[in-house]
Symmetry: C2
Subunit: 432 residues, 2 copies
Amino acid sequence: MAITLNTSDADFETRFAAFLTTKREASPDVDAVVRTIIADVRARGDAVLKELTLKFDRADLDKLGIAVSKEDIAQAYRDADPATVEALKFARDRIRSHHQRQRPQDDRYVDPIGVELGSRWTAVEAVGLYVPGGTASYPSSVLMNAVPAVVAGVERIVMVVPASGGSINPLVLVAADIAGISEIYRVGGAQAVAALAYGTETIAPVAKIVGPGNAYVAAAKRQVFGTVGIDMIAGPSEVLVIADADNDPDWIAADLLAQAEHDASAQSILITDDAGFGKAVEEAVERQLKSLSRAETAAASWRDFGAVILVKDIDQAIPLANRIAAEHLELAVADPEALLPKIRNAGAIFIGSHTPEVIGDYVGGSNHVLPTARSARFSSGLSVLDFMKRTSLLKLGPDQLRALAPAAIALATAEGLDAHGRSVGIRLNLQE
Amino acid sequence: MAITLNTSDADFETRFAAFLTTKREASPDVDAVVRTIIADVRARGDAVLKELTLKFDRADLDKLGIAVSKEDIAQAYRDADPATVEALKFARDRIRSHHQRQRPQDDRYVDPIGVELGSRWTAVEAVGLYVPGGTASYPSSVLMNAVPAVVAGVERIVMVVPASGGSINPLVLVAADIAGISEIYRVGGAQAVAALAYGTETIAPVAKIVGPGNAYVAAAKRQVFGTVGIDMIAGPSEVLVIADADNDPDWIAADLLAQAEHDASAQSILITDDAGFGKAVEEAVERQLKSLSRAETAAASWRDFGAVILVKDIDQAIPLANRIAAEHLELAVADPEALLPKIRNAGAIFIGSHTPEVIGDYVGGSNHVLPTARSARFSSGLSVLDFMKRTSLLKLGPDQLRALAPAAIALATAEGLDAHGRSVGIRLNLQE
């Protein structure tokens, strides 16, 4: 049973504040182990990748090869269900179309005194994409991470994925091929992150690493950050559904469970202005749970982290939604567009009862890599901008330098930086 | 004496690669101390701020107050040199004009099958700006951090600055006022970062913390990351000057020293195609060093981390510049515009001999908070985007859901996520 909160209760604020700060994930301290692995990969390269892959993934890279071959890809296509391959292509096209609109414009202009200024965007040269093995090995995530990099113009995209027991989910290989990735290695864990950051005999280093992973992968990404860029460290997934009584409780229950089935640490929250509707959704959740193949996971998530919050009217949901700052927010209310401008903090908003969040996971076109754990208050989902960087441009002639010099020299002097002042003044014979 | 490298030497690649990976900063491990301070501030709030400020800054906040008052600001204006105040306003106006061009456009559109998609940008609600005390307390940095936040539309900008011995550099307070900051606290160190992240009786928490600081501040920012957003952790400053012989060696020497005087860990690099010119610049550096008030710092930086790299021709400088990925890059060559498209990795580029980097520090208009330590390969300088976040929007009607459902359900099935499939199917009566 999820918890129930009611804004009319005297202790609501206390309970809601506690609910907001509940940690949903244990963070095991694997820093020391990871530090050793990274040092080892830096020192001995491929040999370490082979040893650790044999140990953790029970796969012999001397036989399989570190690199996935063209023939491996061809075999993956033969092993994959053709309808699913078509669905991946359909998703890729929609993701690509949407992300093409995110490409930033360069800007170069001349200001009133003749100074030329500019902002120029260039793609990161090489990007590494980590893909987990096992049950979290999602082909859709391969598309969501790789397509924006391709659209950004990244020239080299390298995928690493552990081959548990020697094999890789064929749909992950197919998704990589469909996305445009041609360099794939069958390594995982902290050792794969180390190889991407520092390089080995087989794997050339990249400049940025993205993609989800377990605690070891997350710790490795934190440790190599600085040497390379990293994306956000994603937490367990979450959905907030704001729904009025004019919804089918079964639809809303299915949405809450779609989130809950990901992970026992996932979180599903319903805010409604109708107590009877809230009850009906809870009953539908219990009913639907029974027929899910991942019922145990979904039940644990709903029991431990699920919530139904009762508000007096839908407007009261707005400040709560902004404090929750959910990764996914569904607005299943009569006039969702009226709510929209008031919602400030959310990774993605799904507008109206016919927009289940799941569409955004796969084929909506927008990215499913979104800020979790309230970080939508200060960060954004993955986009083309994450695979590019901006360089400032500045160009002065003698006249412009003369115009800006007095203020620059005054500030340099005030900050006690003589050489700063001289660097400007010497060009105007203002000082030797 | 800086080191000298020559691309014609047989061991150039080895020496250049070693040069690239030289660490310029010790990173003292202050994590444990910082962890204690943060826990203490969370537990006891203002009382801890007062105790630690008395201990580390020798300032009594019971007398001075934690908050800087309107009268303190008025006094700071009286204490400041009027010409410097005018220079700060001039800088503020130029920074604002440039950054206003960085405001992102919202995008909302309907695709060919009628799906509505969008990207909506909103400002971070509250931002904390850390300003160091002592010699690194630069009013120009206050403008560079605060103005983009104001342009982004951040409603609450909070500045923290330690009052060493009870006093704050009046120009820092004036710069804050000129930038539009009205909430300032005289606290510094890890305790100030903790107060911004978690709040105390006096200081309400923020959603993101930016600004430079010492090892304690950097460690505190890393530790509170996740609870709040943070900007990059800036390393020591650096400049790369590519100059041909058609330059005044004294101008280039002044530019190299302007970087070196910041910090003994700063780095100044000259790449030239003329050995005689390189020598002349080195001689000018030695000559100019003598008259600098920060000669000791600048000399240490030039001796330990400075470099002169001799290339056969200017084109040979390009791949080196892209590997160095300098925070600041000056192109003091005959045709800098021809080089520009080939330069891929740089925080900011200063084009032509009349654009000393120092102009960008103060009054160029672009931001002086830029990626250091080769991180320009994957990250950008501070901009308006750092104070905003993007929410994805998705809206389907029944027809659009029907069009996208087959691919979504196929992918959900392939990933073994029943409830995902159901969340879509149930809306179309495809399954119960």
